[in-house]
């Protein structure tokens, strides 16, 4: 019964995007009804959520649904529009529509004054649709369709206020960097097809692959994931993606887009289980990204930039779990992270809405004026820092335990990863504490008096805060009981690489260590920024000197990319423009033109206008014809 209505889950957001988008294009009068359109978009996404929830409650075995026509025919192999609802994709779909629905609801309040709200909600719905296609796809080309759709939607939404050039550039950057990664997915997909002769998930999964081929495809897919999920080397687009409206950031960072890479790798777990050395690469890049982004977040003054780098860092945690072969743990962190990151972004949106600035130096003491935002933001901070029993604690602890266990299994490199992740966990608590104390405690430093946001914005905050508190219970550590998400739910669709189980004592020790680091980070932040506010910031900047400046400019990675990739590209383009534009273009075109003109002039002389001359041609041609027919 449920399977019959499942196609609606895809149809509803698509319908919403089409109706709002084309309706707004055709009827300018409709555009003024931003609140109504927002309500419509929200209702559609929440309806899809309800359908997924029904599927969740009655879940027994994977369900499939397909649309009547095939999409492509690759040689003899058809690629149908077929979708799969198994435990992994259902969980992702619940996150996408649930968190996404709350973000829609919040957007009604946030975008109230914006004349382009109709455009905004059309793209928001399309974004949810594309992400659903991505996670539900039962074959790689359909997944790729969603993958690209997500990229396009992010382009439109990051560049939503495209009248400012910086925003348009940020959108372009996000799109192009994603495209670089997409190449990896495309190449990996083709390689898999060449080996297995199918795009179908179940067929691919049941295949046996040579180790080096699995490693190659695994690396290609991971490269694709670094683009979409903002890991080294393709992470620089995510901090710039702040240019869009704040709820869009929440959507990109929590429910859609960046989790796609983690999902892809978890879906392709069979490749990584065949090629363990690739897991080492994934883990190494992940922990490096996590640490780097954590450091950069420490020196940012833009509230959204701090959160953006924190997302990059948290994604590093997820990929570290992938690197340890604990794919379900990575998905668990996607799940908990979705709550508190959406909460933090929406909270920062509420702050920006109230103060009209994104600069932490212009905030302070906001908790008094905005009690709900302040309270929920604090919950988000505690959750992401990993304070028990909030959501972030459980998933982060599971990741640390998995990486540590991989080290204990004899791969000593993973101990290094583990230490690096511990340092990042400490940094997470520190920069989040810094952010929250600077923004919400102390005294107000801005000029416009802040006010609490309307209920349409605070209700999603409260719901997300509740989620951030309890979501972690879905994955209890072994010490406290069986992890539902890992052992009951995801076990049927994800094959984790077996890990040695840690003794309860070791596990308790690890847990204590990570809690101590989280508390320590927050305490240090409170000691520095809670007591002295911005003065501590100036003090820190002075003491760290050039390191602080470097971190503030994100280690100039953007500039490096600019110098190494962008500038040479422009130089090359200039060169070819000169070559083909001036030299070949003008030269060759002139040459051909002149030559044709000359030939024309020469041939024109043959037309003497004197009849006997034509007769001579006629007779000559006749003679030639005779000679040709007779003698040749």
């Amino acid at each position: 019964m449920v399977s019959a209505i499942l196609p609606l889950t895809l149809a509803l957001p698509l319908l919403g995007a089409a109706a709002i988008g084309f309706g707004g294009l055709a009827l300018p009068a409709l555009r003024r009804q931003g609140t109504f359109l927002g309500g419509l978009a929200t209702a559609l996404v929440l309806a899809a959520f309800a359908l997924f929830a029904a599927a969740f409650l009655s879940y027994e075995k994977p369900l499939y649904f397909a649309f009547a026509a095939d999409w492509l025919l690759v040689g003899e192999v058809p690629v149908p529009f077929r979708f799969q609802v198994d435990t992994l994709s259902l969980l992702m779909a619940l996150i996408i529509t649930g968190i996404g629905g709350l973000i829609h609801l919040y957007s009604i309040g946030y975008m109230k004054e914006d004349p382009g709200a109709w455009r905004y909600f059309a793209f928001l719905n399309l974004f949810v649709f594309a992400m659903l296609v991505l996670v539900l796809a039962d074959s790689l080309p359909v997944l790729f369709l969603g993958w690209e759709g997500v990229g396009v939607c992010s382009y439109f939404l990051i560049g939503f206020w495209f009248a400012e050039e910086a925003n348009a550039r940020a959108a372009q950057k996000a799109f192009l960097m994603n495209r670089i990664g997409d190449l990896g997915l495309l190449a990996g997909m083709i390689w898999l097809f060449a080996e297995r002769g199918s795009f179908d998930m179940a067929t691919l999964r049941s295949g046996v692959y040579p180790a080096d081929m699995a490693a190659g495809v695994g690396l290609l897919l991971f490269f694709a994931a670094t683009g979409k999920s903002a890991q080294i080397p393709l992470y620089t687009w995510l901090p710039d993606a702040m240019a869009g409206p704040t709820p869009v950031s929440a959507l990109i960072h929590a429910a859609t887009m960046v989790t796609a890479g983690v999902y892809l790798l978890a879906r392709m777990d069979f490749l990584y289980n065949t090629a363990p050395e690739v897991l080492g690469v994934v883990g190494g890049i992940a922990v490096a990204t996590a640490l780097l982004a954590g450091l950069i977040a420490l020196a940012q003054y833009d509230i959204k930039k701090v959160l953006a780098y924190s997302t990059v860092s948290q994604l590093g945690f997820m990929f570290a779990a992938i690197g340890a072969g604990a794919y379900a743990v990575a998905i668990f962190h996607v799940f908990t992270h979705a709550f508190f990151k959406a909460l933090l972004f929406l909270g920062s949106g509420s702050v920006i809405h109230a103060t009209g600035t994104q600069d932490l130096r212009q905030m302070g003491g906001l908790r008094k004026a905005m009690p709900i935002t302040g309270l929920t933001f604090w919950i988000g901070t505690l959750a992401i820092a990993g304070i028990p029993p909030l959501a972030g604690f459980f998933s982060k602890d599971e990741i640390l335990a998995a990486v540590f266990a991989r080290g204990a299994a004899g791969q000593t490199l993973y101990y290094l990863y583990w230490i690096s992740l511990l340092a990042t966990a400490f940094l997470t608590a520190l920069y989040m504490g810094r952010l929250t104390w600077l923004a919400f405690e102390g005294s107000y430093r801005g000029s416009t008096p802040p006010h609490e946001s309307p209920a349409v914005m605070t209700i999603p905050l409260l719901l997300l805060a509740a989620g951030s508190v309890v979501a972690g219970l879905a994955g209890l550590p072994a010490l406290l009981g069986p992890s539902w998400i890992r052992e009951r739910w995801l076990a049927s669709s994800v094959d984790e690489k077996p890990l040695p189980s840690l003794s309860h004592a070791t596990e308790g020790l690890l847990m204590g260590l990570s809690v101590a680091l989280a508390v320590g980070g927050l305490a240090l932040a409170g000691y520095l920024f809670g007591r002295r506010g911005l003065a501590a910031e100036a003090d820190l900047a002075r003491r760290l000197g050039r390191l602080h400046t470097a971190l503030q400019h994100a280690l100039q990675v953007d500039r490096l990319y600019e110098r190494v990739f962008v500038q040479p590209y422009f130089v090359l383009a200039d060169f070819f423009r000169t070559l083909f534009g001036s030299w070949v273009g003008r030269g060759a075109a002139t040459l051909v033109g002149q030559a044709l003109l000359r030939v024309g002039e020469g041939l024109a002389r043959l037309q003497a206008g004197y009849v006997p001359v034509y007769l001579v041609y006629l007779v000559g041609a006749g003679l030639l014809l005779v000679i040709w027919l007779r003698y040749l």
Partner: protein, 102 residues
């Protein structure tokens, strides 16, 4: 019809054809060129007849009837043109008739 006679007639028609061609190429007067074309046509007719008799085959003779008919039509149009050209140009020399030149 004996082959000798055929050769003689073919030689005659060849001569006629050559005369016509030469006249067409060398004469500088539209009317004379026109006469030369008549010679060419008649040379061809003679050939048709000669082979028709040689092969005892009426097709060629029938073709000659077409040819004569064609020549008559051509004479009507051609002479009409000549008259029109002469009225317009007061001259029938090729040298002056070059209005259609590039």
């Amino acid at each position: 019809m004996a082959p000798e006679l055929l050769y003689a007639v073919l030689t005659l028609s060849g001569g006629l054809f050559s005369l016509g061609l030469l006249g067409l190429l060398l004469r500088r007067n539209l009317l004379l060129a026109f006469l030369a074309i008549e010679l060419l046509l008649n040379a061809a007719n003679l050939n048709f007849l000669a082979f028709s008799r040689y092969h005892n085959e009426p097709t060629g003779a029938v073709f000659v009837l077409f040819g004569i008919c064609l020549a008559a039509v051509e004479a009507v149009i051609g002479l009409g043109l000549v008259v029109r050209v002469f009225r317009a140009e007061k001259d029938l020399g090729f040298a002056k008739l070059s209005n259609l030149r590039w």
